[in-house]
Amino acid sequence: MPKITYIAHTGKAHTIDVPNGLTVMEGAVQNDITGIDADCGGSMACATCHVYVKEEWFDKLKKKEDGEEDMLDMAYKPNKFSRLSCQLIVSDELEGLVVNLPEKQT
């Protein structure tokens, strides 16, 4: 089971075993990681599961689909490493993925 590390805005890190097939968002929500709200439940209809992907990981992820960038316009302080964590599906290739959580989601 891949280990995903979520680093809160305060710097506190949580490393969680997330089963393949779940999204990075679901890994956080199911393990009560605060800082990811996921209001729409993972349908890319809000921007409240926004994360900053650690630089060295960013290019290894599957590219954004249409619509994700549009939603990121509405995220809190997006930057070039921003992704919606509901669009990141956990697989063995993501073993060790690190994401930083924004200060807040809305």
């Binding site: 209001d39 409240t48 549009d70 316009d73 302080k77 809305t106």
Partner: protein, 338 residues
């Protein structure tokens, strides 16, 4: 004060079908919604996107679904109170006294919250110091465009609202359109128009920039914007407009004495009543074991909540279960002509 059997909060598909179910069993209701039109998320977020999981409708858009629901509840002549929000809910014996942000008052034994993920509100700037100017020189919607005449306006955003206002205001104001990336997500014709106006020198487009700071004593004097590469640019401006879409906020619901589980309201699955007698929650906003955030689930929840309201609204009557195919009283309520 408006007296009614049920106050429904939210005019999305769940709220609309619940109105139908209330009408079928002979209860009167009033509907309040924060948006300026009926339809909720279906209209606000995906009017043109096809939905494929409405029973017996293989494919329809959010707008079509809304229009059909409006048609379906037409016989009940329901009052809609749009662009209004329920702010206060207080218990008065067997009734709830409900006050809205526009000052309307309702008295009802039942409230059904079909509020989706809360009320839609404009997403604001995150930069410190903005609060001071919000509502004056920093605006998220435009009520009176004449105030912008001959002024310098900085418009932030990349969607249709930002583009449309940039085009409109460029006729009589100096407009700077600022967006965090090179691509605009608005309709192509608006994007083309904005680029044309840029060539004509009527709009200045600044991309890969985000708001960095605002300065001014009583009024905004200038702002600074930050490029992706870290460089900062100072610009003089009179008005700052932000069009970042809408966010959903639970809002005043948190003050009504309801149990909350994160941003959801726990209910029982027998009649979708909350921990408060006479307050029900249905659709995306409610939660229970196995909850699915589907429109079809909202329809089911509304049907049961409507029956739950009956006993509070008509304590001395017993509700008889009837089919719409055969019931004479239901046909009367629907205005079916034989």
């Amino acid at each position: 004060m408006i007296d009614t059997d049920v106050l429904v909060i939210g005019a999305g598909p769940t709220g609309l079908f619940c109105v139908h179910q209330l009408g079928i069993i002979g209860l009167k209701c009033e509907v309040v919604d924060n948006l300026d039109k009926i339809g909720g998320q279906c209209i606000e977020l995906y009017p043109d996107k096809p939905i494929y999981d409405i029973p017996a409708i293989p494919e329809c858009t959010g707008e079509e679904l809304t229009n059909n629901l409006i048609k379906q509840i037409k016989p009940f002549k329901t009052n809609f109170h749009l662009s209004d929000r329920v702010d206060e809910v207080k218990k008065d014996k067997n009734n709830w006294i409900i006050k809205t942000s526009k000052g309307k008052e309702f008295k009802s034994p039942n409230i059904i919250i079909a509020g989706g993920v809360g009320s839609f509100e404009p997403r604001k700037f995150f930069v410190k110091g903005c609060e001071k100017f919000e509502g004056n020189e920093i605006l998220y919607s435009i009520k009176d465009k004449t105030i912008f005449k001959d002024k310098v306006i900085s418009i932030f955003g990349g969607g249709d609202s930002a583009l449309d206002w940039a085009i409109e205001l460029s006729r009589s104001s100096k407009v700077q359109l600022i967006h965090r990336r090179d691509e605009f997500r608005g309709t192509q014709s608006s994007v083309n128009k904005v680029k044309e106006l840029e060539k004509e020198g009527k709009i200045e487009i600044l991309t890969q920039y985000q708001l960095n700071s605002v300065e001014g004593k009583n009024k905004i004097e200038n702002i600074s914007i930050k490029h992706d590469d870290g460089s900062i640019k100072k610009i003089e401006t009179n008005y700052v407009l932000g069009f970042f879409g809408l966010i959903m906020k639970l809002g005043p619901i948190v003050n009504w004495g309801l149990n909350l589980d994160k941003k959801h309201i726990p209910v029982n699955t027998e009649n979708f009543e909350t921990n408060q007698k006479g307050i029900f929650a249905i659709g995306d906003i409610c939660t229970y074991p196995g909850k699915l955030k589907l429109i079809l689930s909202g329809f089911h929840e509304g049907a049961l909540a409507a029956r739950g309201c009956f006993q509070h609204a008509r304590p001395n009557e017993k509700l008889r279960f009837e089919f719409t195919t055969t019931s004479k009283s239901v046909h009367e309520r629907l205005g079916v002509k034989k």
